[in-house]
Point group: C2
Chain length 439, copies 2
């Protein structure tokens, strides 16, 4: 469907439709109303809310919207001539994805906060936007009000990005902070987080690293200028960590964080989410509670860190409004689509088996002579050398001890093989946990 | 002088001229050459270096430039039809300011790394750019490769910014880090920094807070959308601090940082640079060495922090290239000037006398009974109440003691009056120092 290029000039405003009026949608609708003056000043032209898609037209709402603006039928509004920008704040993959497609097909600009849609369908949506001369902006999909998407598309445009290391899930960072500072175990920390509203009733997406993997896919695609989608990202959760891991980490000079790591090496891209030992001297190790932080290494800019609240209705609204202002400026300027060109072809995603890093491992072993030799043997068989050993907590009744080993750099495949070998060994009662080390 | 709007389409490239080939200029020229492919991909169109203004045409240079591109006569290149963007990396107020004016008058886009020019003449240059349908981009003028200017103009556009608290001078942060961690006094730390190349032979601009004041003027104008220039910024240096101040600060739970503070309150803008006690729980307190960090409070985005190397040829080049890419995209898109509209009128700058904050003060006093009562009296006369007192380091020979006082919130004018009163008192031998507390 072709749209008149400058319909906004005839009607005297840029029209904004909003998909969804949950917690974020309500904050966006409220801000578009209350900040109309500020936004008009920023854009240089008035913005107007033209419709809001809701599920239930009758529901009582905290934020007032003239009933004439409410609709429950996307088909009836997507083609309307009074709207230039669609803000998608429904969340979830469908129908959000389908609606964004339709909006782009109709020549509308889209601003979305939807990490799942962008992580799974980003390349397709951006291609379509370019074809239609519009744009999809998605700053709000990662890190809420922390400027990340624009950092990669604009500010760091002249850099080769070598790595991203990010704490981009507030729920898990809250859990890890409580476990590390208060010695809580995982399930107690989770209960506390649920009571405080920092974790959902079903916390799977957060604690299993899925939410972080969505966001990493989005950031890595931007940073490394190659199509990275959710399916490419290795992810592991935090539920195996226990209080001892945090104690040992601290003794060794580390914090434990759920890191989303993207790296570009030898033409391959590495994307993984897992708990990691982060050296306590790094600012990243000091990011506590529900806050997010993204550390980026650019070959010119050096090591940057972007920090802030990574979730919440108001921070998300901040990012949405930034994108709405930018979209509106693009519409006023006219011209072609501003989707940044990303001509780089696909790059191979490095398999986890090929990862090289250092490892922390904690085992319950038989408390007798010769045990360490057997463990060192199993590691040595897989060409893994030991950097340091801590032996602690002898259980006199069970005649077991806890051994903690830090390895030198090793290949993930070799380390996993060693773990299997150790699990079968008669001296190792249990491999309690292992954590990769990032420093 | 009117320019053909789409000369770049006829010639097949966007032409970039560079003013200055010092350390930064050389890195920019080198990057424009080496990264031509990356930049063309980012812009969607080729960029080409068209000329470089240098002082000495014969000088041997580390970065090679075809001699035909070198010029020492700005007048002969500013009007040339092959150039769309001028990158100003000369530094200093003049002739950089005059050259930027001429470039804008000629309809060129300008990218500058010049904090002094932007802090003193920013409003005038932006107005001229808007009139001429061009733009002045100046991300590189503050915090090198840390995205700050674009954060305010784009990402935080929907926010009311309440405050900025920034460590934006790497030299002083290095000095304060050494003084705090190694117990060095100011002059030893300065000598060390000079040996390492972190401080200049004449360090005045850095240690007196002038450099930070330039940068704060730029950030505050963006954040509060009002003309703020260097002359509006109160600034104080770090040379009064001694090792005891750092010891007491640590005991009280603070780090000492040279902070650039901007606040918006009751329609007034407050802009000041001075050493400050920063609570150790803030990430800002953990920013060490030559690094910079800018903490921004937006009413929607919440508390954000941007961290990275705030100086250096490569980080500065990162910001310059980001702006060059953005300028080139703007030129390709055509249309009007993209200088963000800042319709807000002038706002009153709050005088320092009206500041309300807490204070740390250190005094050498007579070591005898009744001294503290006299000090409390002097403070009480000025309606300042004491929050805590530390008395230390009695000098038995001189019969003096050192007293440290933390006050509750007080007005700066009252605090200064109290200081004058104490200086005249017979029990106070010397007011060693005072530092404002930010928390």
């Amino acid at each position: 469907m072709a749209r008149k290029p400058a319909a906004h000039l005839e009607r005297g405003y840029i029209g904004v439709g909003v998909l969804g009026m949950g917690v974020v949608g309500s904050a966006v609708v409220q801000a578009l109303g209350e900040r109309a003056g500020l936004l008009a000043e920023r854009v240089g032209y008035p913005l107007r809310l033209t419709w809001v898609l809701v599920q239930d037209l009758q529901k009582r709402r905290r934020v007032e919207v003239p009933p004439s603006l409410l609709t429950n039928d996307f088909g009836s509004v997507v083609g309307r001539e009074d709207t230039d920008i669609v803000v998608e704040v429904m969340g979830g993959e469908e129908p959000a994805h389908a609606y964004i497609l339709q909006a782009l097909e109709s020549g509308l600009h889209v601003v979305t906060a939807n990490k799942e849609v962008m992580a799974k369908h980003g390349p397709e949506l951006l291609r379509l936007a370019r074809e239609r001369g519009t744009n999809v902006l998605y700053e709000a999909s990662v890190g809420a009000g922390i400027p990340l998407v624009s950092a990669f598309t604009r500010d760091l445009a002249g850099n080769r990005i070598d790595s991203i290391r990010a704490i981009i899930n507030g729920t898990t960072n809250y859990l890890l902070t409580r476990m590390g500072q208060d010695g809580l175990d995982f399930s107690s920390a989770l209960r506390l987080a649920q009571e405080l509203g920092y974790a959902e009733a079903d916390p799977t997406n957060d604690v299993e690293g899925i939410d972080a993997a969505y966001k990493l896919a989005i950031l890595a695609a931007l940073a490394f200028r190659t199509p990275v989608t959710f399916g490419d990202v290795y992810h592991e959760g935090i539920s195996r960590l226990n209080a001892n891991d945090f104690r040992y980490a601290r003794e060794l000079g580390y914090a434990i964080k759920l890191l989303a790591i993207g790296r570009q090496e030898d033409g391959e891209v590495q994307v993984r989410v897992h708990p990691a030992f982060v050296h306590q001297d790094l600012l990243l190790a000091k990011v506590e509670g529900v806050f997010n932080a993204v550390q980026v290494e650019g070959d010119l800019a050096g090591r940057l860190l972007f920090y802030g609240p990574g979730a919440g209705a108001f921070p998300t609204t901040s990012a949405v409004l930034g994108d709405v202002v930018d979209s509106a400026r693009q519409i006023l300027q006219g011209g072609e689509s501003r989707v940044p060109v990303s001509a780089r072809g696909e790059r191979r995603t490095k398999p986890m088996a090929d990862l090289q890093t250092r490892y922390y491992m904690r085992m319950t072993v038989a408390d007798r002579a010769g045990v360490l030799a057997k463990i060192a043997q199993a590691l040595g068989d897989n060409r893994i050398s030991i950097a340091s050993v801590i032996q602690k907590e002898t259980d006199e009744v069970a005649r077991t001890a806890e051994i903690v080993i830090m390895t030198h750099r090793a290949r993930e495949a070799a380390f996993q093989a060693a773990l299997r070998q150790l699990a079968k060994s008669d001296v190792v009662h249990e491999v309690g946990n292992f954590v990769r080390v990032e420093d």
